[in-house]
């Protein structure tokens, strides 16, 4: 009984690991369960323009990173004969274009794809800024102090302080002399940061891009980033005082760095255009998977040609599972245990109808010729070899014939595994001699039925998607097959076979 326990342990381990691998892949890499699921991708193009003055030009643009709600996929740049380097320091990711000499209007492009990704998190935690006290000249100093004191009374912490402050600053219904005075002295964004810093609340201006499909020549919107403590921060909308990240907004720069630095040029500006694309989930996440590390054991790391090969190989366990199910649970007779799987693999290449017709033609013709060979009194190996050559001959003749009458479908017949076909012919022929045509029909039909079922399962879009994307599925199939190997119940056809026995004396 101990060995039984061990067996169930192995089976549950297979299932568990397989399940976890599958789930992990779904969660971490967001490989969808179903094929054809669409994911949204924002394609954003940033355009830097400047007028060069004939000196060395250096342009440094802050770039966005993967953040809450968005995963960065691919990025490309374009410029006219500029040297380009990416500087990826923590919290300060920039593209730097350089050129020894340039004059006139210059343009540089930066294009990036962001996947709308509810599971994405900030990959970099911005540092809280120092709260430097900003001294205002009178009478602004008094007004500012007064406003801070007033707001402090109404608030409990950094966030509520910010909310109250923004409410006071943007409230247009009740005019307040102090506020009007201050807003006349400094613009709202700078004033808010100064007041927050003076109240010892770490805050800074950050820039976000409002994402709207098909928009062009957009600029960044400024937001206030307020730190509750070193690790916790919130975004506040300057215009409305709304707390939290605004929807559909990509934070372009959130670490207090400059957006654009230009040397050797003037009238520089940066504008953005964007496009929302629906892509199949699989291709949308492909770059994300590819960039993953070694631990992410997946076929995606292989070259495309090998991937295509594996696509086929990984389907074979499905065919094998079908064979096991039909033999153990149903009790279908087949000629050669796994021959149907090989036939099904051939069907995948030829398509079902062509495959069936081709199979019947080759095996039928082969049986007739094999019938003659049996009169020649040959040794088994020679006879099967002769059958193999005959099968090749039949396949060639059918290919040429079908091609010359314009049926290119017929060429697909070459996909059949010839050795397997020859053995099938040999077995069927012996079966015919010994047990008669009925048994040939029974076993041949059984094999074909299993092959067709295996083909239908292996050719199913969902099955293909799951087996190719989730290697864990293989372990689950292994577990199921192990369990089926332990099944001692009746087969479906036995229920009929033994039915006279069951109904006796009732």
């Amino acid at each position: 009984m101990a060995s039984r326990k061990f067996f169930y342990l192995i089976v549950s381990l297979c299932m568990l690991i397989g399940g976890l691998m599958t789930y992990h892949r779904h969660i971490t890499f967001e490989v969808p369960w179903l094929p054809g699921e669409k994911r949204q991708i924002w394609s954003i193009e940033g355009k830097v323009e400047l007028d060069a003055v004939g000196e060395p030009v250096s342009v440094s643009l802050a770039l966005p990173s993967t953040q809450q709600g968005f995963t960065r996929l691919t990025e490309t740049t374009a410029s006219l004969a500029y040297g380009l380097s990416f500087v990826d320091e923590p919290g300060d990711y920039r593209a730097i274009w350089t050129k020894r000499e340039a004059s006139g209007h210059q343009e540089m492009y930066y294009k990036v794809d962001f996947l709308v990704d509810p599971k994405a998190v900030d990959i970099y935690q911005p540092e809280a800024p120092q709260t430097l006290y900003t001294e205002y000249p009178e009478p602004y100093q008094t007004a500012a102090k007064h406003l801070i004191e007033q707001t402090r009374q109404l608030s409990a912490d950094a966030y509520s302080f910010t909310r109250e402050l923004l409410k006071a600053l943007t409230d247009t219904s009740s005019s307040n002399q102090n506020i009007d005075l201050l807003l006349g002295y400094k613009p709202l964004n700078q004033l808010t940061v100064d007041l927050l810093n003076n109240a010892e609340v770490p805050a800074r201006i950050v820039r976000g891009l409002r994402l709207e499909d098909g928009r062009r020549r957009q600029t960044l919107t400024e937001y206030i980033q307020v730190f509750q403590d070193e690790y916790e921060w919130q975004i506040f909308n300057l215009a409305t005082g709304q707390q939290g990240r605004p929807a559909n907004t990509l934070l372009w720069e959130s670490n207090g760095n400059s957006l654009l630095e230009v040397q050797g040029g003037q009238h520089s500006r940066v504008s953005f255009s964007m496009l929302l694309q629906d892509r199949s989930a699989r291709s949308a996440v492909a770059p994300k998977i590819q960039s993953a590390d070694l631990l992410n054991f997946s076929i995606d790391s292989l070259p495309l040609e090998e991937q295509a090969l594996f696509k086929g190989i990984l389907l074979i366990p499905i065919g094998v599972l079908i064979v096991v199910l039909l033999r153990v649970l149903v009790g279908l007779k087949t000629s050669g245990t796994f021959m149907p799987v090989l036939i099904a693999v051939a069907f995948m290449q030829t398509s079902l109808v062509t495959g069936l017709v081709g199979f019947l033609l080759v095996v039928g013709t082969g049986l007739i010729i094999r019938g003659y060979l049996s009169h020649l009194n040959l040794l088994l190996v020679s006879r099967i070899s002769a059958v193999i050559i005959t099968v090749i001959g039949i396949i060639s003749i059918f290919s040429v014939l079908s091609f010359s009458i314009g049926l290119t479908e017929g060429l697909k017949i070459t996909f059949f595994p010839m050795i397997i076909l020859s053995w099938t012919i040999e077995r069927m022929s012996v079966l015919w001699e010994e047990e008669g045509p009925k048994e040939v029909l029974l076993q041949g039909g059984g094999s074909l039925a299993v092959a067709v079922l295996a083909y239908l399962a292996m050719n199913n879009e969902y099955v293909r998607h799951l087996t190719f994307n989730f290697l864990g599925i293989q372990l689950i199939i292994l577990g199921i097959i192990l369990l089926l190997g332990n099944y001692t119940g009746y087969r479906l056809l036995e229920l009929r076979r033994f039915s006279p026995l069951a109904n006796k004396d009732d």
């Binding site: 001692t488 087969r491 109904n503």
Partner: protein
């Protein structure tokens, strides 16, 4: 359509064993794999049977190489009737029965003629492994033809009727007689259309008969009433089959016995994977009997072959 299927619970209640349960619960558990060659190779079976003085049909000769095939006819000329079979054949495949020779021609029991060439080709096919499991090279075994007991006259069409006894842990648990028919082409295989007659373990008399898994009462070709069938020398036959347990070491064994006119019961061959049709022929599931023997073994009771036959005759008699 569905009325022809019965509920699995009903089958289980009747103690009917299915193929999966046979494979896992009995063959895999009681038949050590390394003993399989003893029964899968009829030549080896013959050797151990002679060692243990179990009666078997007389061995005329063997054909081991393609070269031997040319000289085989000379040996065969000395025997009017003989059987050529592959040593590793299964399911009755590749068995050629010649009942008489006339004018240099060989005659099958059906009356059809086999030429010298046909016999030689049959031997080559056996050597090449056409009938053996997995197509491995094989040896042709030539045995003397069994002159079957005339008491079976009319119960069999052309072929030799044989008695299959399932021996579990040395206890004969179930038996049936296999009668060849025109449909089975003189062969004794039930799935080819031979009639299976359940034989009462206690008395050796017919219980119930089936063809193609469906009940019959008369032999389809000769019209003889099957319930009149009674196997002579029954006690001796059971003892012989029970002793095959010690001889082969296999716990779940199918023994195929024939009744020779002069020599009485003889062991024809052993089968390590006996089929399930015997349950249909007996009209009864085999599991309760197997469990009874398993319980005996659990209780640590050891019996000699004679005691085992006595036990079986008492417990499993249905008449």
């Amino acid at each position: 359509m569905f009325s022809s299927f019965s509920s699995p619970f009903k089958l289980a209640r009747k103690g009917i064993m299915g193929m999966n349960q046979r494979n896992i619960g009995y063959i895999a558990r009681y038949n050590p794999r390394k003993l399989f060659p003893l029964v899968d190779n009829k030549l080896k079976t013959k050797i151990i049977a002679e060692r243990d003085q179990v009666t078997v049909p007389q061995l005329i000769g063997t054909v081991r190489t393609q070269h031997d095939v040319n000289s085989v006819v000379d040996i065969l000329r000395e025997h009017p009737g003989f059987v050529i079979k592959p040593a590793k054949g299964s399911g009755g495949k590749g068995i050629l029965v010649i009942s008489k020779q006339e004018d240099g021609n060989f005659f099958k029991p059906s009356g059809s003629v086999a030429s010298e060439e046909d016999v030689k080709r049959h031997c080559s096919n056996i050597l090449a492994g056409l009938f053996s499991l997995g197509g491995s090279a094989d040896v042709a075994v030539i045995e003397a033809l069994i002159e079957f007991d005339p008491c079976f006259e009319g119960f069999s069409f052309e072929g030799v009727p044989d008695v299959r006894v399932i021996v579990f842990q040395g206890y004969p648990v179930m038996a049936m007689m296999r009668l060849s028919t025109a449909a089975s082409d003189g062969k004794a295989n039930l799935h080819q259309g031979a009639v299976g007659v359940g034989i009462d373990i206690g008395t050796g008399k017919a219980l119930h008969a089936v063809q193609f898994d469906r009940p019959v009462s008369e032999h389809p070709d000769t019209g003889r009433v099957l319930s009149e069938l009674a196997v002579p020398h029954w006690e001796r036959l059971l003892e012989l089959s029970a002793s095959c347990y010690e001889m082969s070491g296999l716990g779940y064994l199918g023994t195929d016995m024939v009744l020779d006119q002069s020599n009485g019961p003889m062991l024809l061959e052993l089968n390590a994977r006996p089929g399930l049709a015997i349950q249909i022929a007996n009209g009864e599931g085999i599991l309760p009997r197997l469990r009874m023997v398993e319980k005996l073994k659990r209780d640590g009771i050891e019996h000699s072959p004679q005691e085992r036959v006595e036990f079986s005759k008492q417990q499993f008699s249905r008449l």
